[in-house]
């Protein structure tokens, strides 16, 4: 337990550090390069083209860095907390569409009560748990609907998710080497001193209930 806690803490600290370096140090440097390039006056059309392409490459690097930084540690999670971060995460999944909540035929709904401000580590753990559940649902469940619900019950934060997909046998799945994601759910719940319940049956969808004392 103590070991898992230490491992997860180290991992998340490293992620935050790298995300920050990308976002706060390399980013501004790259845009400074882009700005300076744009001040150069070219006289030949072919030079103009090279200049334009170079500038586009820089834009590509910046947007790729943004994705990496955000995957490592969403800025919103740190700054605005869990609920905003989940909203943004779900919204971004359906990128390119205004109806951001539908991904590959899966509609994701998120409802929540007013969540008290959580310790940062806890917010990160819950966020990662939700990420894994959503990714698993997209990857494995063949569901058309995923409901995510966050509520408060007797000083506990309750996270409940429900999909209408294929369901699976938890016993079998957690034994295979693929089960890293599921194990992660268990360890992250454990280090928060919470309880995790998985109800899933082949053909009947999957319900996760995670209760965390706050």
């Amino acid at each position: 337990m103590a070991k898992i806690l230490a491992e997860i803490t180290t991992l998340e600290n490293e992620r935050a550090r790298v995300a920050n370096d990308l976002h706060d140090e390399l980013g501004p440097l790259l845009s400074a390069i882009k700005f300076k390039l744009s001040s150069i006056e070219t006289h030949l059309p072919e030079d103009e083209l090279v200049m334009q392409q170079t500038s586009e490459h820089i834009v590509d690097i910046i947007s790729r860095m943004r994705e990496i930084s955000n995957d490592l540690m969403p800025n919103t999670l740190i700054r605005k907390g869990l609920v905003y971060a989940i909203d943004e995460f779900i919204g971004k999944l359906g990128n390119g569409q205004i109806h951001g909540e539908t991904v590959h035929g899966l509609t994701i709904s998120f409802s929540h009560v007013d969540v008290p401000e959580l310790p940062k580590n806890m917010a990160i753990n819950i966020y990662r748990i939700i990420q894994e559940i959503v990714h698993n649902t997209i990857k494995h469940a063949k569901a058309s609907l995923l409901r995510i619900n966050v509520l408060m019950k007797d000083k506990k934060l309750v996270l409940q998710t429900e999909d209408n997909g294929s369901g699976f046998d938890y016993g079998d799945a957690s034994k295979t080497s693929a089960g890293f994601g599921l194990r992660n759910l268990v360890s992250r719940t454990e280090i928060m001193g919470g309880d995790l319940f998985i109800e899933s049956k082949k053909g009947k969808g999957t319900v996760y209930t995670i209760e965390i004392p706050v």
Binding site: P28, A32, K80, G91, G100
Partner: protein, 220 residues
């Protein structure tokens, strides 16, 4: 066009290299004049009081006082000074905070020079500017946020055709697709787009989408 006095702008960012790049980029534009640089929000607020710029361009995450707080102060104390938020990545919620704090526009730090100049001129003319490369998610968030630059304007009335074009723009349809759908020429659709932008004072399709969602023309 603006041959007389240049637009006077003040820049705030905690990275000196970034400020330097920005200054170099605008040096040759004689209708825009960078009159000062601040390294954080506190410096920015002080300098705004002293220099009274026309437009402030400010980073959002800064030490001492961040861009959101600085914007709130500036918008309250000096409502005639227009603020543009600058952000490295499209940190959606930071941008919403900036707009709600009183910024009239935002730009990604990866924006092109042309767009930056367009944004400066737009807010200088008391209109709002949304960055061209705004994600669909952010457009929805802006439309649903408390930020509403359209409150006081008399609402334009649109024809059914115009409403349909707006809805299709929201679905990310190209001019070609819209033209095919409405059995009109691409030229005509371009005309529609220009007219819609003109009437709601949008500078690009982002403004149309935000407007359409906010006014319930397009339902999300």
């Amino acid at each position: 066009m603006r041959k007389s006095a240049p637009i006077r702008i003040l820049l705030a960012d905690d990275h000196e290299i970034f400020r330097d790049g920005f200054q170099v980029m605008l040096k040759k534009q004689d209708y825009i004049k960078l009159i000062g640089e601040a390294a954080n929000g506190r410096e920015l607020v002080e300098m705004v009081g002293m220099l009274q710029p026309d437009v402030v361009i400010t980073d959002i995450k800064m030490p001492e006082l961040d861009g959101v707080e600085a914007t709130r102060i500036i918008a309250n104390k000096y409502p005639a000074i227009q603020v543009i938020g600058l952000t490295m990545f499209d940190d959606d919620n930071l941008i919403i905070d900036m707009l709600e704090a009183g910024a009239k526009g935002y730009l990604l730090k990866s924006a092109h020079k042309k767009e930056i100049i367009e944004a400066i001129q737009t807010v200088y003319n008391k209109e709002v500017y949304y960055c061209k490369s705004t994600s669909a998610n952010l457009m929805r968030l802006i439309a649903q946020s408390r930020y509403n630059p359209y409150k006081h304007e008399p609402k334009p009335v649109f024809t059914d055709k115009e409403l349909e074009v707006m809805r299709m723009i929201c679905q990310q349809a190209s001019n070609k697709e819209i033209a095919a759908h409405l059995s009109l020429s691409i030229r005509t659709i371009e005309g529609y787009r220009d007219r819609i932008q003109e009437r709601i004072k949008a500078k690009n399709m982002v403004g149309i989408v935000v407007y359409a969602i906010r006014e319930g023309i397009y339902k999300v």
